[in-house]
């Protein structure tokens, strides 16, 4: 059926155009948020308040997940490494996987579904109930007063959460490998320390999580601010935040890894 093919092609073209258009709007919004960040920096209390909702409330999920991911890594790593008689390298394996990849990436994924979705829902709901319009009518810019503090709180929280995740993971790996299985404690730590480099591994992991923090919160505030002011609109936007930011994290991770660890 040529007619059906034509219409499906039209559909693809339409959706592509729609996507490009949204991307342009998102970029403009992102720049707008950056331009209007002066208020958040001047009145840092606004950011601190959001740090509580974005950062502190994400702590539990980050700590628990980090611990379990580390424990699994310790167990799996030990099983594999002991075949080659190098089970003392389990510390290196756990630490490198966490610091380079899993810490920033898994923490960012958890952050997107915990804090990102909450930011979108909150801003979307404020829009749907005319709170943002009301703020504008009170001569207060909602981007500066509502969006920018949430954005900066997210950007500040993400690297801290990723670091906490990694430390909890290393601790989980230590628990399993050293305490439960009985790998020598001294070589666990010394192998780890001689193979994890501050600049190449830790600093790069930190930079990664900063990028993820910007990406996730930028997507979350945009989706919230851009959501149709209805119940369905807000719920759709919340879903889109989680999906889009998860994809963004994984895509960015590949690009950043290629730059950092290959392009040396």
């Amino acid at each position: 059926m040529p007619k059906r093919i034509v219409s499906s092609l039209q559909g693809i073209g339409h959706r592509t155009l729609e996507g490009i258009w949204r991307l342009g709007r998102a970029t403009r919004f992102f720049l707008l948020v950056l331009m209007k960040s002066a208020t958040s920096l001047r009145r840092f209390g606004l950011v601190i308040r959001e740090l509580y909702y974005v950062g502190v409330l994400s702590l539990i999920i980050i700590v628990v997940s980090g611990l379990f991911v580390g424990m699994v890594l310790g167990l799996q790593g030990y099983e594999t490494l002991q075949k080659y008689g190098s089970e003392t390298a389990v510390g290196t394996l756990v630490a490198l996987s966490l610091v380079r990849e899993l810490g920033p990436v898994v923490a960012a994924l958890l952050f997107a579904s915990r804090a990102g979705s909450a930011i979108t829902a909150e801003i979307g709901l404020m829009k749907a109930t005319e709170q943002l319009t009301a703020m504008g009518m009170m001569a207060v810019d909602p981007v500066a007063r509502v969006v920018a503090p949430r954005f900066w709180a997210g950007v500040i929280s993400m690297p801290l959460l990723a670091a906490i995740f990694s430390v909890m993971g290393v601790f989980g790996g230590y628990l399993v490998a050293v305490i439960f299985i009985g790998v020598d404690e001294g070589s666990f730590w010394s192998q780890m320390q001689s193979n994890v480099d501050f600049r190449i591994d830790i600093l790069n992991g930190f930079i990664k999580s900063c990028f993820f923090g910007v990406a996730v919160t930028a997507i979350a505030v945009f989706e919230g601010y851009d959501s149709p002011p209805t119940a369905e609109g807000v719920s759709g936007a919340t879903t889109r935040t989680v999906v889009t930011s998860s994809l963004a994290i994984l895509g960015l991770d590949f690009i950043l890894t290629a730059f950092m660890f290959r392009g040396l």
Binding site: Y52, G55, V56, L160
Partner: protein, 155 residues
């Protein structure tokens, strides 16, 4: 939520996060072996560095005394120029012998320093005169076969 309680939680959160970063840097990573203490730079020319990488340890008697900071290729001597950062607490004589060694059979490569007997010590920017290249497995096997062959021919 009271303002003060909220501030307290956020303060705790930020402190925990920064603490985690410190733990990562000092306990998990090797920031404490970096240029925290004073250090001096020396160079060594090697015919072949094998698989030596930047940041590989420089050891003397098995103790880490510094790290490789740069590896370049010299078009004058067609040698590899290895730059090392050595902890200032450790001074080495001018005729110190530097060789590229391997930890274990398949482990990472590092530079071993064997102290000589000279009165003068190596200073910032000095070049180590006596170096020994990395053992390359293929060359070793090749040399072994060649020696074997010349032994046979001798008869």
């Amino acid at each position: 939520m009271q303002r003060a309680t909220l501030d307290l939680w956020v303060g705790l959160f930020v402190m925990t996060g920064i603490g985690a970063l410190m733990v990562l840097s000092l306990k998990v990573g090797n920031l404490n072996t970096y240029g925290v203490a004073d250090s001096y730079v020396i160079q060594g020319n090697f015919e072949n560095i094998g698989g030596l990488k930047i940041r590989a340890p420089v050891k003397s008697a098995g103790v880490v005394v510094g790290r490789v900071t740069a590896i370049q290729f010299s078009t004058q001597t067609y040698d590899a120029v290895v730059t090392m950062n050595i902890d200032s607490r450790f001074q080495f004589p001018k005729d110190t012998f530097a060789s590229i060694l391997t930890a274990g059979l398949l482990g990472e490569q590092y530079i071993g320093l064997a102290a000589g007997g000279d009165e003068g010590m190596l200073k910032e920017g000095d070049t180590i005169m006596k170096t020994n290249s990395a053992m390359v497995l293929e060359e070793m096997i090749g040399r072994f076969l060649f020696d074997k062959a010349s032994e046979d021919n001798a008869f």
